[in-house]
């Protein structure tokens, strides 16, 4: 009986390991494609007359990026978009669009949705805390790695949608974990 329980516990951790690797691969891939995409934007925008921005095709890390291309400077500003009921807009968060030229300056918008990103951070972090401390889903090492990786990716991919509340959720999550490890 004891061995069955042990085997079940081992299987349980093993199964959830897949979940961990799944999150990890998604995270690495998303960063990889976004970085690639970002360099693509820098290259494509040089020939603005032939430039086709498509539907939220290009990714950008920071809107304050303002580089000079020949005689033209580039400036992006933030624009909040709804993702409900327009679910296709989900693709646009953190990406750029609506390019135009004004006073010899290329201008465009970086699409953001602070509420959505904050909810993702809140739900992800708190659910992981519950999974780990209530149900013992992962090993401690994997729990820490997952939390750090996913938060890093969220902050990297949705940097423009991040505000003080996002940092609050992050800081509070880490504090809760700290208390679990150092108070109990």
């Amino acid at each position: 009986m004891e061995s069955i329980t042990k085997r079940f516990q081992t299987t349980k951790i093993y199964k959830f390991d897949y979940l961990f690797y799944f999150f990890l691969i998604i995270a690495i891939l998303s960063i990889f494609f976004n970085v690639l995409n970002y360099f693509n934007l820098k290259e494509s925008i040089q020939d603005f007359d032939k430039f086709d921005s498509g539907f939220c095709e290009y990714f950008i890390i920071t809107p304050s990026l303002q580089s000079q291309i020949e005689n033209k400077s580039i400036k992006f500003s933030k624009k909040d978009i709804y993702v409900f009921p327009e679910l296709e807009n989900l693709k646009c968060i953190g990406r750029v669009g609506e390019f135009y030229i004004e006073n010899n300056q290329i201008k465009g918008y970086v699409y953001t949705n602070t509420k959505l990103v904050n909810n993702i951070i809140l739900i992800f972090n708190f659910s992981q805390i519950i999974f780990h401390y209530f149900f013992n889903f992962y090993t401690k090492k994997k729990f820490y790695s997952l939390l750090c990786f996913v938060n890093l990716i969220l902050f990297f991919n949705f940097y423009n949608s991040i505000n003080l509340v996002s940092y609050n959720f992050l800081f509070t999550s880490f504090l809760i974990i700290y208390f679990f490890e150092n108070e109990a």
Partner: protein
């Protein structure tokens, strides 16, 4: 004996802190309009009227009675009334240090909550005599009664919450909180529930009877039921309002801000931990329920004003009380220490000036000076219409010619529409009152032109002392020729 000396030393310490922090803004006459409106409406009791009879302000009647009492004992000295608020804050801090001693009682757990509350409310946003401070006094009494073994414990809890709800209607929410708290420990207890509700009802019945006796039941229901319900119509985003506050707090002091986050995180941690290990800690659940209720209070108030968060800041201050590890205690003490230095340093210079100038603070208030000059020019039966610097009404002991007292209410459509329904105000209330041809008209703009009136010269008034939030506040007073 040692404990007593320790307590006395702590009380002296917080007294110095309260004086240093609060006195830094006492030289400014108006920190918030709300207080002015409470004072003006409170004077109605002195005229033998009840609030809402001829004057309307958007709060329950006990608050005005308390402010009338403040006016009486200070001889309508605004500066002294501000000091009363400092005493109230000191009282709250002392009560805090004596609460929840059953499960944990060491120096850290006793003195951390009051120090946190002192720091959270150290910014000027929380300096005025807000109704929330009075509410806290009564809710703290309810907390104290909840931890006594008195026979009439539940009646007293209910009575305290009832009084709090007659100071700020939103605090009625805490009736549900305390009902939950008393039933949480040992399941549903019908007798306790009924006695608590009975205690809550007593002050309400008393005020209801007073209004009924004076044929003002309709006005009472309008002010305590219809108008508060109309608040729910207002466009308000809870998360946005909280974000605004947190951003402002972070900009004010990063250490105090981090103390708030630590308190919230510890409350969540403790809740998770108690759930996982099935630990029954009634005092923790009490704080959790009260924190949630105080956030609901902020939500129900529906305006996003920072002072609606005072109750949350009060209850959340208790959360770190149960920290057990010495290292964590040390970290918190260190952050508190740095924050206290910051808060004291920024307040010290102005406090020093104000303490030196103690005797002249009241006489330097701009509206007080103007009112003192106008006193001889207005007779008992002449009326005043004021829409901005309503302290003029307070110093001259006159009701406003309009039913509305609080300057901001003219712009609150959800409230004025209710008042119009009850035929208390006209469609164009300002124009209507000007047509009454009052002896003095005080307006927020200088567009008023009439041959019958001359504008009072206010060049010699120090406008810096008029309103804390405005460098050039409007001061337009017209006197009938």
């Amino acid at each position: 004996m040692k404990l007593k000396t320790q307590n006395i030393a702590f009380y002296l310490f917080v007294l110095i802190q309260v004086v240093n922090i609060q006195f830094s803004t006492h030289h400014v006459e108006t920190l918030d309009w709300d207080v002015n409106a409470f004072l003006v409406t409170g004077l109605e009791y002195g005229r033998g009227n009840l609030p809402y009879e001829f004057q309307y302000e958007n709060k329950p009647p006990l608050l005005f009675l308390i402010f009338y009492f403040f006016s009486l004992i200070t001889n309508s000295n605004l500066f002294y009334i501000k000091i009363i608020n400092d005493i109230l804050i000191l009282l709250i801090l002392i009560m805090m240090s004596n609460l929840y001693k059953k499960s944990v009682d060491d120096v850290f757990s006793r003195y951390t909550p009051p120090l946190l509350f002192l720091l959270f409310t150290s910014n000027v946003w929380f300096h005025p005599n807000y109704s929330e401070y009075l509410v806290i006094v009564f809710l703290a009494l309810a907390q104290i009664f909840n931890h006594t073994n008195l026979k009439s414990q539940n009646i007293l809890i209910g009575f305290s919450v009832g009084l709090a709800s007659l100071i700020n209607i939103g605090s009625s929410l805490f009736l549900i909180s305390f009902l939950l708290i008393i039933n949480l420990e040992k399941g549903l207890r019908l007798f306790k529930t009924i006695t608590l509700i009975l205690g809550f009802s007593i002050p309400h019945i008393l005020f209801l009877t007073a209004y009924w006796y004076n044929n003002l039941l309709e006005e009472y229901i309008m002010a305590t039921v219809h108008v508060p319900l109309s608040y729910t119509n207002s466009d308000f985003s809870f998360t946005y309002a909280l974000t605004v506050f947190l951003t402002a707090l972070k900009n004010y002091d990063l250490y105090i801000y981090s103390l708030l986050l630590i308190s919230i995180a510890f409350l969540i941690y403790k809740t998770f931990r108690n759930t996982i290990y099935k630990i029954n800690e009634p005092e923790h659940y009490e704080i959790l329920i009260l924190c949630i209720s105080s956030l609901l209070f902020f939500y129900v108030a529906g305006k996003g004003y920072y002072h609606h968060l005072i109750l949350f800041l009060y209850f959340i201050s208790f959360s770190t009380k149960w920290i057990s590890k010495n290292l964590n205690k040390l970290i918190i003490i260190l952050i508190i220490f740095i924050s206290l230095i910051g808060a004291n340093m920024s307040a010290f210079q102005m406090t020093k000036t104000n303490l030196r100038n103690f005797d002249n603070i009241q006489s330097n208030y701009p509206i007080y000076q103007i009112a003192s000059n106008l006193k001889s020019k207005i007779s008992t039966n002449e009326i005043i219409f004021s829409t901005h610097n309503i302290l003029l009404l307070y110093y001259l002991d006159k009701p406003n010619s309009s039913y509305i007292v609080h300057p901001a209410l003219y712009d609150y459509e959800e409230i004025t529409s209710e008042l119009k329904l009850f035929k208390k105000v006209a469609n164009d209330e300002i124009k209507n009152n000007i047509q009454k041809s009052p002896k003095i008209i005080e307006l927020s703009n200088d567009e008023f032109i009439s041959g019958d009136y001359i504008k009072l010269k206010t060049d010699n008034v120090n406008k810096n002392l008029l309103n804390y939030w405005s460098k050039d506040p409007p001061l337009n007073i017209y006197i009938k020729k």
